[in-house]
């Protein structure tokens, strides 16, 4: 697989003409967004003050007005940036992915299926709404891999019947075939309890975690500090998490710089990296030619596709070949 620096080279060398073209579009678009934004705000203010003076306003009205302003504004923004976004994805993200591996398929509008997300058991809350994009699927070496942006949400209803949504997960969701056979379920979560409450109380809290399987204490101190492992089978969890895999997962987590959730269920490894934002979107207010922006696309793709190499998923145990 190509290294991050090779990919950055590719980004600047092979995509340079496209990027310059997009850069002109971006500047025009930015100008348009600012103008339309100003007009939109003025019109909204006028309407708002008109309603205020006509005494139709109640307490809830302000909240509603703000909600409408943000909601309509968001739609407007999406509508304005749609063409630019689509073009960016086809002309930049797609070639980047092909540059990493030609056998990978990219579909900008699709995402990892909800049942796959639910199967992973990484997040126990019920998913009421699921969205996502930038779906990549294919085979690297002999390992099937699939990943996309995901946004899973849960609906809440207050006693007054008001509806609100909370985010369960937002970020990159990766599923890949695992190189060993297993039957049970093993879930690895970021260790918040042990970090906040210390070993003794944190450890006790972990063992009392309802809705999760048995706590598995791992024999790698560093790993144990960063993660907490639950499994249906004490031995199988350790069969999956060999000393070297624990080290590799730690390296991966450090590289991702975001909370990482991992589970081994079915025949797959599921990884959810919580970025809290939509990835692979074109920047509109900053230049596409900026190194920092480029690095964000390149390193995220490299991280996701790189798990096959990094976790050595192509080295299948003999009975799985």
């Amino acid at each position: 697989m190509k290294s991050v620096s090779e990919l950055t080279d590719f980004y600047y060398r092979n995509l340079f003409a496209t990027l310059e073209e997009l850069e002109i579009q971006r500047k025009n678009l930015r100008y348009r967004i600012i103008i339309i934004g100003i007009f939109y705000t003025i019109i909204f203010m006028l309407l708002f003050s008109f309603i205020l003076t006509s005494n139709l306003a109640s307490g809830d009205f302000f909240a509603f007005a703000l909600f409408a302003y943000v909601g309509i504004g968001g739609l407007l923004y999406k509508f304005l940036t749609k063409d630019y976004t689509d073009e960016f994805k086809i002309k930049v993200i797609k070639p980047l992915i092909s540059a990493i591996d030609e056998k990978l398929n990219y579909t900008s509008s699709m995402y990892v299926a909800q049942r796959t997300f639910e199967r992973s058991e990484l997040f126990t809350a019920t998913v009421d709404r699921m969205s996502g994009n930038d779906h990549v699927k294919g085979i690297i070496g002999t390992t099937k891999i699939e990943f996309s942006d995901l946004h899973a949400e849960q609906r809440h209803k207050s006693s007054k019947g008001k509806e609100s949504w909370s985010t369960i997960f937002r970020g990159l969701f990766i599923v890949a075939e695992f190189n060993k056979n297993f039957i049970g379920k093993t879930v690895i979560l970021p260790d918040s309890a042990q970090n906040t409450f210390g070993d003794l109380i944190g450890g006790w809290l972990q063992s009392k975690n309802m809705g999760r399987d048995e706590l598995v204490k791992m024999d790698d101190n560093e790993f144990e500090k960063e993660f907490v492992v639950y499994s249906t089978d004490q031995i199988e969890a350790r069969y999956i998490l060999s000393p070297s895999l624990m080290q590799r997962l730690l390296t991966f987590q450090k590289r991702s710089k975001h909370p990482v959730y991992i589970s081994f269920i079915g025949d797959s490894i599921h990884m959810a990296i919580y970025y809290g934002k939509d990835l692979f979107e074109p920047s509109i207010f900053r230049s596409l030619l900026k190194y920092k922006i480029a690095m964000e696309y390149v390193s995220t793709l490299h991280l996701a596709i790189g798990i096959v190499d990094e976790l050595k998923l192509n080295k299948k145990i003999w009975s799985k070949r």
């Binding site: 204490k217 031995i235 199988e236 350790r238 069969y239 060999s242 070297s244 003999w318 009975s319």
Partner: protein, 184 residues
């Protein structure tokens, strides 16, 4: 309710909790040891086949093969203690490791499909054994901690619980089987 009665109840509850936690730790050790035993047996079952396939070729390592066979026979005896099983496992692991290294010296043997198959099976089982050993060691550590730490140590003494041995995982021993690296 008189205070003395409340104190008595609290003490009784604490004692019961301590007792139960010790019992559950002991059972956890036993449960996991049962699984360790199963994978160890799986490996012992491969030994006759291995010895049969390699003995034709290996002239210089006869004593090694005899030793493995003898260890297997010993392990299959009924009613051997856990300590003994752990000791035997250590010996078998190192003997098998030596055989695998010796195989490297016989090109015919290395190319033999049956031997290759056995080698792969062995290294897969080896991985499972390693996982089982680690699980067992963790359970034993929890158990040993409980019987040595205050306040459960008093209860443990009263219950006549004693320390249990852990598996020694020798680094060099793990490296003996060369194909193993592939699966880590």
């Amino acid at each position: 309710m008189p205070t003395s009665l409340i104190v008595l109840i609290v003490v009784a509850v604490i004692l019961v909790l301590m007792y139960n936690s010790l019992v559950s730790k002991k059972n956890q050790v036993e449960n996991i040891f049962a699984s360790v035993d199963t994978v160890l047996k799986k490996r012992y079952d491969l030994i006759p086949n291995l010895v049969a396939s390699v003995s034709k070729y290996m002239d210089h390592e006869k004593s090694l093969l005899e030793k493995v066979t003898q260890l297997r026979a010993e392990a299959n005896k009924p009613n051997i203690s856990d300590e003994k099983k752990i000791k035997l496992d250590e010996q078998v692991s190192s003997a098998l490791g030596s055989i695998m290294i010796a195989v490297e010296n016989y090109p015919d043997l290395k190319a033999n499909e049956n031997v290759m198959h056995l080698q792969h099976s062995l290294s897969e089982i080896e991985e499972q054994i390693s996982a089982a050993r680690r699980a067992y060691n963790q359970a034993v550590t929890d158990y040993n901690n409980a019987i040595e730490m205050i306040p459960t140590n008093f209860m443990a003494t009263a219950m006549n619980y004693s320390r249990k041995p852990v598996f020694e995982i020798v680094e060099s021993e793990r490296k003996n089987i060369n194909v193993k690296e592939l699966f880590n």
